[in-house]
């Protein structure tokens, strides 16, 4: 059994990598990007926003300008507890500080214009001498990192400017599509060209007339200026980066994790990153949403089991009677009602005080004044106060009903079918022949042996419990996992989506493993040795 468990656990690692890789690639290759959906949310665009500059900042901040595979490997490195290279540091505010990002080369420098020798090469890292006072070190690091960030952003702006200048220059000589649909430079379109300052205008452009030639010259001049600006800003940024690298190498903050082979391999906490749509650590977001979903399901699932299993047993013992037919028909009918429709009807008829019954609340988990309530219902001065627990339960009634009603059918039908199978087994006949009471036959023999399918269903239900129900959470404004995942998809929030995927996939795999173990516990015929 132990060997089996270890094998299964180890197999989970490649499976998880496979799942996250697929999801990562799906997001990376889908059109649109971070910020794009936010800009046009709901079909109303905000004019007056320079979306491109915002996009460039965001891409640099989240490293989206690298090839997708590189980004994936970087993400994997961050979430892995095994870390390669030097250990990260942690500042007093708890932020993980990594070694400064290197600068990207200037697009097609040397090929179109200038030479790569124009660029300052990165210097050797020589740790600076720091003081004993951590506050001083903090200030030194902050100053160096601020200066590098400014210089780096200036360089990014220069790069964007260069791309645009190259695009205009390409258009001036009839080359289309220099920028692709993600505003990236399509280098192959410009390959083989070279800019000569004050050089001749290409024949094809000259043939189009004087205006075209003049446009071409202006565009070429703009490209040269853009290259010069990019080189200057690159060199400035490189100096700042070297300085920051030296400060970082002196370890102004304590290091994170435990070293295994110094400078090469270490153990550290996984870092799930920061959500791009909410600018908050992903783990903090999950930590808020998960308990809500778990609470909902902790109430819903026992209700499903408490109603579906006994009625499945009854339906099996009274197969063919009116109860069997009626309960089966009712469960299937409930199963066929779409949750969106049922939820909206409940809000309109059960929750609305004016046109309906007004029994329950429509949204959220608590009333605004619930913080001041006592925990249990009470009657101070003879007036009824519902208390925190009852208030929460009243809020939960409608969402839980929505989660529950469709779940009866599958479980009760499964129980009924398994029970009927066992009823016709030899051991039941033997038990009955021995004169064992009917109740005992049903509960002790048949039901116990019909548990296997119920366990299978539990393995499927358990991960769904953590994933949350998108529809129910949306209708009743419940801030659970379903809503979090939906927002992450809509806003292309990669970090949040990946962390959720990893968690749900991990729990799924664990649930499957748990089901297999439960099989072995419930059925002595099943062994894994």
């Amino acid at each position: 059994m132990a060997a089996y468990l270890i094998r299964r656990l180890l197999l989970m690692i490649p499976t998880l990598i496979g799942i996250t890789f697929l999801v990562f690639m799906l997001i990376a290759l889908s059109p649109g990007g971070i910020g794009a959906a936010q800009r046009f949310a709901g079909g109303s665009g905000q004019s007056g926003v320079d979306a491109r500059a915002q996009q460039a900042y965001l891409e640099d901040r989240y490293g989206l300008d690298d090839p997708a595979v590189v980004q994936y490997v970087r993400w994997l490195g961050r979430i892995s507890p095994l870390k390669f290279g030097t250990r990260d540091q942690r500042d007093p505010a708890g932020t993980i500080i990594r070694s400064p990002k290197p600068l990207k080369p200037i697009a097609m420098l040397g090929e179109l214009w200038g030479t790569e020798d124009d660029l300052t090469a990165p210097g050797e890292v020589e740790p600076e001498t720091l003081s004993d006072d951590s506050a001083v070190n903090n200030a030194t690091y902050r100053k160096a990192s601020g200066a590098y960030l400014l210089a780096r952003l200036d360089y990014i702006a220069a790069q964007t400017n260069l791309r645009l200048a190259l695009s205009t220059w390409g258009t001036a000589q009839g080359i289309r599509g220099v920028l692709n649909n993600k505003s990236k430079l399509n280098e192959s379109k410009l390959r083989g060209l070279h800019i000569v300052e004050d050089g001749p205008v290409p024949q094809a452009v000259q043939d189009k007339g004087l205006d075209a030639a003049s446009t071409y010259r202006d565009a070429q001049e703009a490209v040269i200026q853009a290259y010069e600006r990019a080189i200057t800003s690159y060199n400035t940024a490189q100096v700042q980066r070297d300085h920051l690298a030296n400060v970082y190498a002196a370890k102004p903050y304590p290091q994170v994790g435990w070293s295994i082979i110094p400078g090469v391999l270490s153990l550290g906490p996984p870092d799930f990153g920061t959500s791009s749509s909410r600018s908050q650590p992903v783990l903090a977001l999950i930590k808020t949403a998960l308990p809500v979903t778990v609470l909902l399901n902790l109430i819903a699932i026992p209700i499903i089991y408490l109603i579906a299993i006994p009625s499945g047993i009854l339906a099996a013992t009274r197969a063919g009677t009116w109860f069997d037919v009626a309960s089966g028909a009712m469960y299937v009918a409930l199963w066929s009602i779409p949750v969106v429709w049922a939820g909206t009807l409940m809000i309109g008829f059960v929750a609305n005080e004016r046109s309906g019954l007004g029994w329950f609340y429509v949204a959220g988990l608590n009333s605004p004044e619930a913080d001041g309530f006592a925990y249990l219902p009470s009657w101070p001065n003879g007036d009824f106060h519902r208390g925190f627990m009852l208030d929460t339960l009243l809020h939960l009634c409608l969402p839980v009903s929505c989660l529950v009603y469709a779940g009866f059918a599958v479980l009760s039908k499964q129980t009924r079918a398994a029970m009927l199978d066992n009823f016709s087994a030899d051991y039941v006949r033997t038990a009955k022949a021995k004169g064992v009471a009917d109740r005992v036959v049903v509960m002790r023999h048949v039901f116990r042996n019909s548990l296997l399918p119920v366990i299978t269903i539990f393995a499927a239900v358990f991960p769904a419990m953590l994933a949350g129900s998108v529809v129910v959470e949306k209708i009743f404004t419940i801030p659970g996992m379903g809503k979090l995942v939906l927002d992450a998809i809509n806003l292309r929030d990669r970090e949040l989506l990946l962390a959720n995927t990893l968690m749900i996939a991990g729990v799924n795999l664990l649930a499957l493993l748990l089901a297999d173990i439960l099989y072995a516990l419930a059925d002595p015929r099943v062994t894994y040795d």
Partner: protein, 653 residues
């Protein structure tokens, strides 16, 4: 292995989960109470600090006391002086129009000490209540205004919030700027700014800050706060404030002249300079500068300003986080006139049916309704007995449109490159019907990119008439002849195009179906194509569409047409995505932007609107109105061109 799992165990399992739920709820409530306690403690601490400050001031040593007294007297005298000066000036300038062309402001003839010599000083009228609550019957102070939002703001930190809800929470309530728009006339009025001098050439602006202005913790608002907000907060690349940089980048730098005088320097003379500088929120440097960039970027509820309200229980360690209600309480230290309501509470319910039920059940005083809900509820007597159903166009309404690709799509010109075809398309659409059937009769049909009824909009332009005959004639003139039931040009190409709209849009598909039917009448093939909002930007940037629908929203009464209509915005994936280039429009845009005289500029915009109208790069559809359901429990609810002035509202007894 024994088979041991039986009914008994199952019941035990269920009981355990019930105990688990009860335990969890208990812990949850305890946590929430703990937070409540902390926020109460924080409030007490704040009040204590203020009290200590007052006590310190009172019990300062004799000499210091005299000096302080002298200072106070001097300050009072100078305030009195400036008030007299203002009165004299406003009397002198009564009836005259300001150099800035802003109605509602007056020019100084006498120059205060802080002013630059040789330039006129404008003393804007202070912000006012258009309908004074105290003058109303049944006026009373106190009470809570409970507003329901249809979307969850992830954060309410100034310059970092990302949506309209963030702005609704803090604009004018917690955060204030040097000036504010008048609710009714939409002219700039003074708020934190007492007076200003605006360079006649539009290159600088010097502002004198109100002496009395204080942040909610009692500290004075200074010129350094203004400089810090601009340079070290909004334009600090370490902060995630990009969204605001693109509009504020008309400002080159901010200079501190003295404690209460600040000067803005602009990059070029554009008409938006004054409003961008004057409407920028001023943040307390002493509060925000204590945080690291990561702390601020990840914060959700670090909100402090100088406004009449403050965030309840502002606590750095336990900040407001979604989905908790946002509660603003009255700032008892407020330096100006205090509004009547005690608190504002905001809660999110992101489902319109639930919103409506909630407000009907008495959980909420105001919500935004859909057009369909408005149609139903405005006729529901039971509902209108308890709620005002308001719909009105205002400066934030924006406009919806169909945009025609006026140049090439993937290297091939679209049929809409010909202006006659674009005009024919507008003739094909019965805008009254669209208004009646798809917008439920709400909103105004617009003829240009400026709000109907606003000064920028030309009243002389009427919508193009709905006429299939005219459309047919124009199409024939453009060389599209009907053959085999389909329009074809001389090369034999069929006239077919895609109509792109966003998935999830309610009006988009309806307009698409209507457009397809109308096009079929004249022999055009129209294929509606839904796309995800996330790829809208890419589609627009690559101009990969024939016809696309969208709605632009606005934040100011006067919009800058440069970004949408100038031909320079075609290149490099700019926002002129229809690729419409018109030299006359370019000339007018450049002229209008440089013109600092309001009336002159309006004339230019009217001409520009005519040029756009004649070319029809967009078929302008509607200015959809704001729709609000507001409880009758509230008094003095008025709709204005600015939207609503929540500070006027009070709770009826």
């Amino acid at each position: 292995m024994q088979n041991t799992f039986g009914l008994k165990d199952f019941v035990v399992l269920v009981l355990v989960s019930i105990v688990g739920v009860i335990g969890f709820l208990g812990m949850k409530q305890d946590d929430r109470r703990w937070e409540e306690l902390r926020s109460a403690e924080e409030d007490t601490k704040q009040q204590l600090t203020t009290l200590i400050q007052i006590r310190d001031e009172i019990t300062k040593g004799n000499t210091a006391h005299k000096a302080a007294l002298r200072d106070v007297v001097r300050e009072e005298l100078s305030a009195l002086d400036s008030r007299i000066e203002k009165l004299v000036n406003s009397a002198a300038a009564a009836g005259s129009v300001g150099t800035t062309g802003l109605p509602g402001s007056s020019n100084g003839q006498r120059r205060p000490a802080w002013a630059r010599p040789g330039f006129a000083v404008t003393f804007p009228e202070p912000r006012r209540f258009v309908s004074d609550p105290e003058a109303q019957d049944e006026f009373q102070e106190g009470g809570e205004f409970f507003e329901l939002f249809e979307g969850q703001p992830p954060k309410i930190v100034p310059f970092m919030y990302a949506d309209v809800y963030g702005r609704r929470v803090l604009d004018g309530t917690v955060c204030e700027a040097l000036g504010a728009y008048d609710s009714e006339t939409l002219t700039l009025r003074g708020l934190l700014g007492e007076a200003w001098q605006y360079d006649p050439n539009g290159m600088w602006l010097r502002v004198k800050i109100q002496d009395a202005a204080r942040f909610s913790d009692g500290r004075s608002v200074t010129a350094e706060d203004v400089r810090w907000t601009f340079h070290d907060f909004v334009f600090n690349p370490e902060f995630e404030t990009e969204r605001f940089r693109s509009t504020l980048n008309v400002i080159d730098h901010v200079e501190v002249i003295s404690e209460k005088v600040v000067e803005f320097h602009f990059k070029e003379a554009v008409f938006t300079n004054l409003r961008e500088a004057v409407l920028m929120f001023i943040l307390p440097k002493h509060f925000y500068s204590q945080f690291t960039p990561t702390q601020l970027n990840q914060s959700t509820g670090l909100l402090m300003g100088s406004g009449p309200y403050r965030l309840e229980g502002l606590d750095v360690d336990s900040q407001w986080t979604p989905p908790r209600d946002i509660v603003l309480v009255r700032n008892e230290n407020y330096w100006g006139e205090k509004p009547p309501l005690d608190t504002f509470r905001y809660r999110t319910i992101d489902n319109y049916a639930a919103l409506l039920t909630s407000i009907e059940n008495g959980e909420g005083h105001m919500m935004r309704g859909t057009q369909e809900q408005f149609r139903l509820k405005s006729r529901d007597v039971g509902f209108t007995d308890s709620f005002y159903t308001q719909q009105w166009a205002n400066m934030r309404s924006g406009f919806s449109f169909l945009a025609w690709n006026c140049a090439e799509r993937n290297g091939t010109p679209t049929p809409f490159a010909d202006k006659r075809v674009r005009i024919a398309m507008t003739h094909l659409i019965d805008m009254e019907r669209i208004r009646r059937d798809y917008y439920y009769g709400l909103g105004e049909i617009c003829t240009g990119p400026f709000p109907v009824g606003g000064p920028q909009n030309s009243p002389d332009i009427v919508p193009l008439e709905y006429s299939i005959e005219k459309a047919k004639a124009l199409l024939t003139e453009a060389g599209w002849i009907k053959k085999d039931g389909v329009l074809k040009n001389e090369r034999g190409d069929r006239f077919s195009f895609e109509y792109t709209y966003g998935t999830g849009s309610t009006v988009g598909p309806k307009v698409g179906a209507y457009l397809r039917d109308q096009c079929a009448l004249v022999g055009i093939e129209c294929t509606p194509k839904p796309i995800d909002w996330a790829i809208y930007a890419t589609t627009l940037n690559t101009r990969d569409f024939d016809c696309i629908t969208l709605q632009w929203s606005q934040n100011n009464p006067e919009s800058d047409p440069n970004q949408l209509w100038h031909s320079s915005s075609i290149e490099n994936q700019g926002d002129n995505f229809t690729q419409w280039a018109n030299p006359e429009a370019d000339r007018l845009i450049e002229l209008g932007r440089r013109s600092l005289d309001f009336n002159e500029r309006m004339k230019v915009w009217h001409q520009l609107q005519k040029v756009i109208y004649d070319d029809q790069p967009y078929t302008f559809m509607m200015n959809p109105p704001w729709i609000r359901f507001i409880s009758h429990d509230l008094g003095n609810v008025n709709t204005y061109p600015i939207g609503l002035d929540k500070h006027e509202i009070f709770m009826l007894p």
